[in-house]
Each structure stands twice: as C-alpha cells, then as structure tokens.
Symmetry: C2
Subunit: 333 residues, 2 copies
C-alpha cells in the first residue's frame, strides 16, 4: 500500500498543507512539531513522490552540480559550501561527473536537465561551446564556479588576476625577477590560458619580461611539478630563482624533486602555490600560497540562486583570496 501525504497528516493530526511544508522544509513550524511529523512519516514509510510532484508543479527542489571527473581537491571544499547552503534552504544537491567524451557529456547534462533541476552549477568546468549554447536555451539558471566562461554566464570566483598578481608581487618584493610558471600552462583551455595571460600581464606591470622557456607543464599534477625541475630544466642550474605552481599538488612535486636531489627549499628555489589547501601545511617546508575561499564560493553561489537573484544579466562575484606567507620563499634582496 502506498502511503500518501494525507495518511501522514491524519496520523499526525495536522493539515496536509502543514505536513507538506514540514516534509519539504518550507515555511515556518516549530522544531518539535517538525521532528514528530518526520518521525511519523518515517515510521509509516512515506516518501514523497518528488518526480510526480515536480511534473505537476513544474518546479524542482533540486539543483545540479557538474564536476569534472579529473578534478583537484578543491572540488570537495566547494561542494561542502554548496551543501551547507542547500540543506539549510530545503533544496537538494544532485552531483554528476563529467569526462571529456562528447557522448558522455550529452548524457550527463541530460541527466540533470531531464530531472528538472532548478539550477546547474558548473564546477571549474571548461565545457564545449555547443553544450554551453544548448544549456543556455534551457532557461534555468547556470552559475559557473571558479571560472568565468563567457560574457553571459554568471560566475562566483576568486579574481584570477589578483591571485596571480599577488604572488608575482610577493616574489618581486623578495627580490625575484626570474620567475617560472609551472603546472597547467597550456593554451588550449580557457582556465589555463587565462592564468598564463595574467602571469605575463602581472610581470609586465612589474617591469619584468617573461620568457617562453619559463612556462612548464600541461596539468595540475604532482608529477608535472616533480618533472619540471628533474626533466624540464637542469636541476643544478635552474634559470629561475622562483616558481609559481598553478596548484598545490604541483608545488609539492617541485619541493619533493628538489629535496630528493639534496637541494633545499627555499635556498635553491623559492616556491609559491595557488589554492592553499591543507597540502600546503603538510609540505616540508610549508608552502607560501594564495588561498582561495572555496567553501565561501559554494555558499555564495547557492545563496545567489536561492534568493532568486540570478537574472539574464551576467553577474560576476569575486570572493576575496588571502596570501599566506610560510617558509618556501627566500628573500634575495
């Protein structure tokens, strides 16, 4: 026998409307009453048939999050921020993963769109133009996290220029002029080419030039960091005195490669990283880093949607970052 909302309401001696509000976490009610109703619903085996209700009301209480399959650790931090804001509002989070196979991509977006999510959050994704075009015809809010995709999609992100400029400025203030960018420096994706461009621009603003030879790597991996100084350059005669790692893992790779070759950090090379996750505290020496507030990015993005303040007009919200000075930069002034 299927247990209906009416059955639960009768057992709880409340109106169907009240019970509905409680079970969907909408509107006001006392926590004691809510707890009692949830217990009754649970004991009776009631589960609201959300799909049917969605179709009827044309309004879903779920939001979708799309995460790249190969992602860095910060995805977890963003999801925690999204989760917090989501459960607090009675929405539900449906997360899907995305690889770079085109057929799978279609499938993944179908999953979300056809389950009528109220919004789609793209988590540090570089998605193809055709897919973006199709998403934007669906008239559901789309918010990009940690990256600005184009001139239409709203974004919540660190200010990428400030991220890079803070690190360059810090290194220059310690006397460094030959600075390498190591990690994901390829020109084929939006995110990495923006970082590369910002690096060149910041160096220029500091009256410094960048050599092409000072870019190394195509991804944010530990291995790329390790190989940069062991294979990319002569570890006994590095042409730069400082390196900016595009992610924490890259920085740890550089540190380990130097340590394994009996070169000490920061004496033989100064290293700073972008992201500032726990790894930078676990490294020896601990790494100077520009820390992004990922949980806050998630919370702000979700609240933007909940407060219904995403409209056709693009909004870019910058979440402040913080330079954390530790032990991986040598003052050579």
């Amino acid at each position: 026998m299927v247990v209906t909302l009416k059955d639960v309401a009768q057992a709880a001696n409340l109106s169907v409307a009240s019970v509905s509000r409680i079970l969907t976490n909408r509107g006001r009610y006392s926590e004691t009453t809510a707890k009692r109703v949830r217990e009754i619903a649970r004991e009776m085996g009631y589960f609201k048939n959300q799909s049917a209700a969605d179709l009827a009301s044309k309004k879903s209480r779920a939001v979708g999050v799309v995460v790249p399959l190969i992602h860095t650790n910060f995805a977890d931090e963003i999801i925690k921020g999204l989760y917090e804001a989501t459960v607090a509002s009675g929405y539900e989070l449906l997360i899907t993963y995305l690889d770079d196979n085109e057929a799978h991509q279609t499938q993944v977006f179908n999953t979300l769109l056809t389950r009528q999510v109220g919004a789609v959050f793209l988590l540090s994704l570089d998605i193809p133009a055709w897919m973006m075009a199709q998403l934007t015809t669906q008239s559901i809010p789309i918010i990009s996290l940690t990256t600005i995709l184009n001139e239409h999609i709203s974004a919540v992100t660190s200010n990428e220029f400030i991220v890079m400029d803070t690190l360059v400025d810090h290194l220059v203030s310690k006397g460094h002029t030959n600075i390498a960018l190591i990690g994901d420096t390829k020109l084929t994706t939006n995110i990495s080419s923006v970082r590369r461009r910002n690096f060149i621009e910041s160096m220029k603003q500091h009256q410094l030039t960048t050599e092409n030879a000072f870019f190394y790597g195509n991804d944010h991996s530990y291995e790329t960091g390790y190989q940069s100084v062991t294979e990319g350059y002569d570890i006994n005669a590095l042409p730069f005195t400082a390196a900016i790692a595009t992610a924490d893992l890259v920085g740890v790779g550089i540190v380990n490669a130097m340590n394994d070759a009996n070169k000490s950090i920061p004496n033989s090379l100064s290293v700073v990283t972008i992201d500032g996750l726990q790894l930078t505290e676990m490294s020896r020496p601990q790494l100077t880093t520009i820390q992004q507030n990922f949980a806050e990015i998630g919370r702000i993005a979700m609240n933007l949607f909940i407060e219904n303040s995403i409209d056709q007009q693009q909004q870019i919200i910058y979440v402040p970052t913080k330079l954390i000075e530790r032990d991986s930069v040598l003052d050579i002034k």
Copy 2:
C-alpha cells in the same frame, strides 16, 4: 515549442525506436549513425523528458551514490570506478552527500528514492539502523562499498581482516612486537570498531598482546596523526616501535610530527598505512602501505547491478589488496 523524439526521428530519417535506443545508449547501432542522431537532437534542442518517461516505464536509468560529507580521498577513486562502469552501460550516476544531521539524512535519501534510482550505492557509510530498515523496504538494490553493514546488505570491499593482518604480519616479520593503532580507533562506529577488533585478533594470532594504551585517536585526520606522537605519547620515549595508521593522512601526520622533532622515520618509529593513495608516494620517506583497489571496488559494484545479479541473498565480494613495501619500516630483528 517542445521538440519530441518523433521530431528528431523524422529529421534523422530513422524510426522513433532507433532514435530512442541511440539517445539512451541502449542496444546496437553504428557509431556513425549514433553521432549523426546525437548531433541532430542537439541542434534541435531535444532533451528526453526522463522524469515523465520514468514514471511511465517505472524504470529509471540512473543509480544513486551516497557519499559522507567528511570523506577521505578514496571516495574519488571509487566514484571514478563507478563512473566508468556506469557510462559504459548507459546508466547515469547521481551523487548525493550525507552529513550526520538526521533531518538532512532523510532529505538526502528522499532525493534519491523519490527520483526512482535503479540502485543505491552507499560509499563507506555508517547509517543509522532506522534508515537502513527504511531503505531495505524500498525494494531497490542497495550495495555497500568498502564496508559490510549487516547480514542483509550486499557489499563490495577489501577483506578488512586481511588488510589488518597483512600489516601486523609485515611488522612482526621485521621484529616489531609493540605496535600501536593510530587514527580512527573509536568503538562507536561500525567501521572503526571492526578495524580495532581485527587488530586485536591479528595480534593474538601472532601470539602478541595489545594494550589499551596503544590505541590513539577518533578520526582519520592528519591532525590526529600529528598529535598522537606530540600529545598522546612522549615523543622521546614512545612505548611502541611501530604504528599502523588507519588512513594515509594519519600516517603523513605521524611522519611530519616525527620529522619536526628531528626524529627520523623509520629509525625512531616504523609507520605503515591503510589505503595506499598517492599521498603515500608523496611522503618522505615514502610509506609502506596496504593498497586498496578502490576503482575496482566501484567497477565491480556497478557491474553487479548492471548484470542484474543482486538478489535478496546477501553477497560479499572481496577485492584483493596489495602490500607495497617502501621506506618507512625498520628491520629490528
């Protein structure tokens, strides 16, 4: 105007059934045809109304995955394994997070159950008995990953006794008899108390006793590992010669605390870890570890569901683990 399957079929000059099979990745068709149909569907802005179709056919092509909000890194590895097997079969993965707030837990399971997923995968979850009881009345397959929850729910996991016994045996073979268990050693959750029990049992089988004082910590964190030797014991007179870390992060915490106190690993303390993720290679010294095959756990679990081989009978599938010897154990024989 809503674009229907029929519209796409007409534009592609194919039957509705063929187009349906292609867009849901079911049945056989040439990759050239499939590509053409997907392109046409995309250009026309067609998205299958999955919710409506699900209600009609009572069969969903999605599976749900429930992940604890505070999870260790291995969740990503399992999800990758699940993802691979899922996209290959035309199913879709819907991931939800779970914290330990009871109201949120109800909400999270509602999200999946009411969206009629074909199966629910519980990823290293210790869920309350009432919720488990309710889940099992839903007559959808439930599979627990990395942990055996009770005598009814099927599980794909490493053999937890072998995991612990392999490490104890390795340490004993190197002459260690005073061995600590550090990390999540609390008795209040299923997973941690099983590990604790297995440790005691394995020690007993090696004719060794375990002292209560040799258990430290209530979680799998880096901080717990670090504090164990700095606060839990006198770092200058550790009462044990070897420590088993219940997770890689815990092991790195122990290594860093020892290094920071100018004690070298393995000379002052031997350390081994459970899990064997990349962190164990990034540590200096690199850590001896029992490596779990998380991606394989995900793949096997998903294939179990796809091949429709989960029945009422409980199945426990053990995925082999591997001892990887590195530089963190001293031979004191």
